[in-house]
Symmetry: C3
Subunit: 244 residues, 3 copies
């Protein structure tokens, strides 16, 4: 059994957060909330999402699993205006999920969850931690994408740098304590990533949200931020691109 | 002889109303106003348009016929801002229609009206009549188009329903007296239609305009609304899609 | 040596002005400012651009030449907001140009200027001179482009006309002293041009800027306007399209 009501904006943030990684997803539901884990088909990025029931206007559930195509949820969200409320109810007998939005009722087939992988997201220990607004990071991504298809992130003491270089041209964005929320980089670290993966993760961050970046040399980057006023959290691991 | 001046917004509403059905159209003009009738090439939808001379800022005409490509009128409208006034004058000698918009003069060839069909639009007697805002109907169309390429309209007593179902998913929008302007459905009726035709008709309705829908089981739907503050009216008949 | 700071909006106007003619351009720089000349590959249009150092917030330079791909400068401008300031510095040793925008640094390769032609722009003597807002001229261009791929400009006494005619349809926009800033056309003149070239030049004019048009029968048209509050000027010559 699962029945919950939430703001369409929160559902939109959840769908946007998962979209870069996977379209067919499995939510594990308990009386206390829901979680999901996924890895993208190329095994380059992983996501872990945890939403407490406090993020919902109402939430009633036994332990259950729900398999969903996000594309269909996005269809429902396109019908919603900001501030609208959506009710989601599991119809276990018919294997359907029922979305109610105002006077619209949308029934969609549930996916067989046994075929959807939910990997464990490893908890890496990375030496540098940077907290920045998603807008500053997006600026660096935009500037980089004119130059190359990969981007390097580096941190050293009190500066965080986003850089990119091509055959003839190069670019860097330097953020220091005046532009960052916080930085802790006891030693110099640097790791490079494919821009598209990094961009798709960062552009899904709700505006005015701070992003925490865990970084270490030639290791995956850990990206995380809060959802639903702190009642949810999304974490990504993105594999590095080892340069020659 | 035909010479008239009207607001560009009214001309735009007229062109938008006809566009879903036909591009080459014949207007029949009298001293009292103008009418046009058309059927689309697949004979699935018909339109009847009647505009009284009171819809115009000025209107002088003998009985005449004018054949036009709407695409060219749309070109003129793209040059107009909301609130602009357009003067249209027939140059019978040269077989041209002259549009004047500010300091722009646009001359366009008239079409040979003898080759343009103007069918009679039959006056069907349909048992249910629903009056609703075009916005509510559009919401149902948008929700349906994610599911299927056809849509069913049904009415029963005090509720009007727009629904759609596909192989695995389904959707319905239920409007009752609280969402409708009015409804009169003495018996349950239901008819289905191709979404695209229905959508193109409804999306041409000027915003904040109420639409009257005449409905009966497996019969064409009649859609009508007023133009130019009640000085014009547009009526459509859209053939049903008979389901198995 | 070359190092200068300017408003991103002025740099954008400069790039937009040159774009219709050429992408790879050579700027000749002196202690007093910069100039550039270019002709498009089909030799149909020429541009001459002169910017005084007063257009810059700061400007330090020896005599030098800089070869640039405008596409890359456009990349930098996409990162700027209106009101931002951009610093440009030549790194002669490495053959690079360095753009600084906030905390972003972008290094780009300079082009070999010896391979970039900078033609002399002839100073034609044309009998009619019209000064008009770019908005009025754009209106005439938009109306013409529905009709044909060429446009005729004519002036006679106190009226300036933009016209276009196709096989069946025609259009004209008449501007007189009430719509023009000024006109001086002692004799009737008329010349025709390919719309696309004329359109691309006029649409790059900053809004609220007056354009001066020099016109004579079957001669090139001269188009010029001021940049950076009169501290710069851009001049075009566009070859006529001789009609049968």
């Amino acid at each position: 059994m699962f029945k919950a009501t939430l703001k369409s904006d929160i559902l939109k943030n959840i769908v946007n957060a998962i979209s870069p990684v996977s379209d067919e997803v499995k939510f594990s539901i308990t009386p206390e909330g829901m979680t999901m884990r996924a890895v993208d088909p190329t095994h380059i990025e992983m996501i872990g999402l945890d939403i407490n029931k406090a993020a919902f206007d109402s939430f009633e559930a036994d332990e259950t699993e729900i398999g969903l195509e996000l594309d269909k949820v996005r269809d429902v969200l396109k019908l919603a205006s900001s501030g609208d409320t959506i009710t989601i109810e599991q119809d276990s007998e018919r294997g359907k999920l029922i979305f109610k939005l105002g006077n619209i009722t949308r029934r969609m087939n549930l996916l067989d969850t046994s075929s959807i992988n939910a990997p464990k997201v490893p908890n890496l220990d990375l030496s540098a931690t940077i907290v920045a607004s998603s807008q500053e990071i997006l600026k660096g991504i935009k500037a980089s994408s004119d130059i190359s298809d990969h981007i390097s992130l580096s941190a050293d003491g009190e500066t965080f740098e986003i850089a990119s270089s091509g055959d003839t041209d190069s670019m860097n964005l330097v953020l220091d304590k005046s532009n960052l929320v916080s930085i802790n980089a006891p030693q110099a670290v640097r790791s490079a990533f494919t821009i598209d993966y990094f961009f798709n993760i960062i552009k899904a961050v709700p505006s005015d949200t701070n992003v925490t970046i865990g970084l270490d040399t030639d290791k995956p980057v850990k990206i995380s931020y809060g959802l639903a006023e702190g009642n949810g959290v999304v974490r990504y691991l993105l594999a590095p691109r080892i340069e020659d």
